[in-house]
């Protein structure tokens, strides 16, 4: 049994942690969130220089060759600063799909550009009706000539507005919710027939609804095998869920620390409100929720790293725990800050909104609990 990190991992984590502390305070974040793009290219370039964008990629493409543990460490620290730059969208999702299913040519062309910070990507998987079902896809890709013609609409595409390329999940065969018959296609966002409507979410990020109107792409645009997209989606969503859970853990830690600090300094009735046992017990509960979330995160990472056979259950359990702990922790953080907790000026509400957004991404707690039940107890 060993829950320690390697020296290299410790250095990676410290590098992110230091940067967030020194160069990404809440005011900086606030002004980035208010900018039209909802991200800063300057910061992104620094992320590239510091090597963070290379973490999950193979060394042959100039990557760091990192494991899920490395992704987890980076994301937890980014969470502490509620960093807006699209690490999840470009590196974990877009890059992850290329790394898993991209052809040698696609990888050679795009991965080095991701690493150097000159390529932004997005994964367009959600549709209006799909809710939490990744396979519920009505967007179609029809074989045509030497390629495909894509028609349909994707919604809430993370980093859609800034992306140079998007990987879109489209149906090449099968029924609307079938896991078979899904194909992933790489589409430049300046291709004819791609229309983006971009808008801002509560957590500050700018996302897009993307309409594909007779968009034509060559056959080499397929990522992985035709009709075999679901396995790739599943794989990348697994690591992305771990990444999101790590980000959530970072946020939860910040919320707990800030709330604890506030209750030690805020005085009412002549004493610090932290001296009230009613509040002490609540903060013990949020502390325990944090620890339990961390444990499930580590469990899922170990399972994934060791190629265990319980990974699906671990991921469902983790997403349930992130949802429950997150709600408890941000709820208490707001409540214990009193009126201050309700203001937009304080960072607490912004941490809360990011946790809320994480909860609805790749299935909320109830969805994953139902999946867990199905896996464990049905048939």
């Amino acid at each position: 049994m060993n829950f320690d990190f390697t020296e290299e991992q410790g250095m990676l984590r410290d590098s992110v942690a230091r940067y967030i502390q020194d160069s990404y305070d809440f005011d900086t974040r606030r002004s980035i969130a208010a900018s039209p793009e909802g991200m800063s290219h300057e910061h992104w370039q620094t992320f590239a220089e510091l090597g963070w964008l290379s973490v999950p990629f193979a060394e042959e493409h100039g990557g760091f060759g990192g494991s899920p543990v490395d992704i987890m460490l980076v994301m937890e620290e980014l969470g502490k600063g509620i960093v807006l730059e699209p690490y999840l969208a470009t590196v974990v999702l877009f890059g992850g799909l290329l790394e898993r299913g991209g052809s040698a040519a696609q990888q050679a062309e795009l991965i080095p550009r991701i690493i150097e910070g000159s390529c932004q990507g997005a994964f367009a998987y959600l549709e209006r009706q799909s809710r939490h079902e990744l396979a519920d896809i009505t967007t179609t890709a029809k074989a045509q000539g030497d390629g495909y013609q894509i028609n349909g609409e994707k919604v809430v595409v993370f980093n859609g507005a800034n992306a140079d390329y998007v990987i879109v999940s489209a149906r090449t065969s099968g029924e609307q919710s079938a896991t078979d018959g899904i194909t992933l296609l790489l589409v430049p966002t300046d291709a004819a027939g791609v229309e983006r409507v971009s808008y801002r979410l509560m957590d500050g990020q700018v996302v897009s609804n993307i309409v594909f109107n007779n968009v034509e792409v060559p056959a080499e645009s397929v990522i992985g095998a035709e009709n075999g997209g679901y396995t790739l989606i599943n794989g990348v969503v697994t690591i992305a869920t771990i990444a999101l859970a790590a980000e959530a853990l970072g946020i939860m830690g910040q919320l707990n620390a800030k709330t604890l600090e506030y209750t030690k300094t805020r005085k009412q009735f002549g004493v610090a409100i932290g001296s009230f046992q009613a509040l002490q017990h609540r903060m013990v509960d949020t502390f325990m929720a944090y620890e339990q979330t961390k444990s499930l995160l580590y469990r899922a990472v170990c399972e994934l790293d060791g190629q265990g056979d319980d990974i699906a259950a671990c991921i469902h359990a983790l997403k349930v725990m992130v949802d429950r702990s997150g709600r408890l922790i941000f709820g208490e953080a707001i409540q214990l800050h009193g009126g201050m907790g309700i203001t937009d000026e304080l960072d607490i509400g912004h941490y809360a909104k990011r946790l809320m957004m994480i909860n609805t991404t790749f299935g909320d707690g109830d969805y994953h609990q139902a999946q867990f039940n199905q896996l464990r107890y049905a048939g």
Binding site: E133, V197, Y199, N209, T343, A370
Partner: protein
């Protein structure tokens, strides 16, 4: 034990329904949604209620109340919620109005009550300060008497709708000796007085309803003092105890639950409606069962008040459970919207967004976090029950 409505109650219910149906029209409703038209729309709606004679069901008849019995009030509230009709802004009608008719001079009653009823004056509540929230009695805003005037200096915070207000009712310190509750006075201050400055505070739902109100040597006629100097705490406490008919908000929660139910029947995940999902059903029924109980708890409290009992710590129970249920309903509604909850208001048209209430559900949920904080936080309410009911 009897909760059946008599024929005259049913007739009253019909009258209430017919009135809301006609008077609460869609044009008016659309104006509530836009911050630039909100204030005028609220005033217009309240004036319609005033003309109908229904603006103040809680007031004694002699001051302009409806003279309804407890059943009629219950019916009115239930129908109001069921029709989705917004409640009145409470500060004038439910808060300072009762204080004025209970403790004010004849002159104060004549001067203020008619304009509260007609909504010609917009009131706000100036109690909280940065250092005095739950521990309200430690407030520091000072009023020093100079001849026929008080000179007020200090600042209030979290003052809802101060940006619209013509008047503010304030708790101010007139005496620093002795027990801190004993040196507080209840003062009515004209918001248009020189020396008042209102600073906006944006809340986590991205709206502006909260404010800080600064008082820089504001001169207030002594005639605006309620009751006796230094006795303001007594009046403020009476106001708190003056049971608000709808403290638990059960009818609104029930209405929202009905809406959630019909939406969940249409919302599909993986080919199945959300309403058929056992986990969703459990969340829904957990709330509905609590509300069924709370509705009767409220009726029991109202009945005991009607037969002469004092509304005391029971109203704390209603507040705690009521706000917990409001938040549970808001959370469920927001979860229904899945990722659409994240969209900021006015970023997209409803058609582009592809969802009926996502962003609004989140705003309601976020602002709803405040209901367990204001009006005496739920922790403070629990302290009250522990002490006053359980004798701990």
């Amino acid at each position: 034990m009897d909760t059946k409505f008599a024929p005259e109650d049913l007739a009253f219910r019909e009258e209430v329904r017919a009135f809301f149906d006609e008077a609460y029209d869609e044009e008016l409703q659309s104006r509530f949604k836009d911050l630039t038209t909100f204030k005028d729309a609220v005033i217009e709606w309240q004036k319609r209620l005033y003309k109908k004679g229904w603006i103040a069901p809680g007031w004694p008849k002699e001051y302009g109340g409806t003279g309804w019995n407890a059943t009629q009030k219950f019916i009115y509230e239930t129908e109001r919620s069921a029709a989705g009709v917004r409640d009145v802004i409470p500060f004038g009608l439910n808060m300072v109005g009762p204080v004025i008719y209970s403790f004010g001079t004849e002159e104060q009653k004549e001067r203020f009550l008619p304009r509260i009823l007609s909504s010609d004056d917009w009131w706000c509540q100036g109690y909280s300060e940065t250092g005095a929230g739950s521990d309200l009695a430690s407030l520091k805003t000072r009023a020093v008497r100079e001849g026929d005037e008080y000179v007020v200096s200090g600042a209030k915070i979290w003052t809802s709708y101060a940006q619209y207000a013509d008047w503010i009712f304030c708790l101010v310190r007139t005496n620093s000796e002795g027990k801190k509750q004993d040196g507080i006075s209840f003062l009515l201050i004209d918001m248009h007085s020189p020396g008042i400055k209102v600073n906006p505070i944006v809340s986590i739902d991205n709206h502006h309803s909260l404010n800080e109100v600064e008082f820089n040597d504001v001169r207030v006629p002594v005639a605006n003092l309620i009751g006796e100097q230094d006795k303001g705490w007594t009046y403020a406490k009476a106001l708190l105890a003056h049971e608000r008919t709808a403290i638990a908000g059960v009818p609104d929660s029930k209405r929202s639950l009905t809406e959630i139910r019909s939406f969940a029947a249409r919302e599909v995940n993986g080919g199945k409606s959300l309403l058929s999902d056992p986990l969703f059903q459990k969340r829904l029924s957990d709330i509905e069962i609590e509300l069924m109980a709370l509705e009767f708890t409220e009726l029991r409290v109202l009945a005991s008040v009607a037969s002469g009992g004092a509304p005391g710590a029971e109203s704390s129970l209603l507040k705690i459970k009521g706000t917990e249920m409001q938040q549970a309903v808001q959370e469920l509604r927001m979860d229904l919207a899945a990722y659409y909850q994240g969209v900021l208001p006015n970023e997209l048209s409803a058609e582009q967004l592809g969802h009926e209430f996502g962003s609004q559900a989140r705003q309601t949920y976020m602002y709803g976090r405040a209901s367990t904080i204001y009006g005496g936080s739920n922790e403070v309410q629990k302290n009250i029950i522990a002490k006053a009911v359980l004798g701990l």
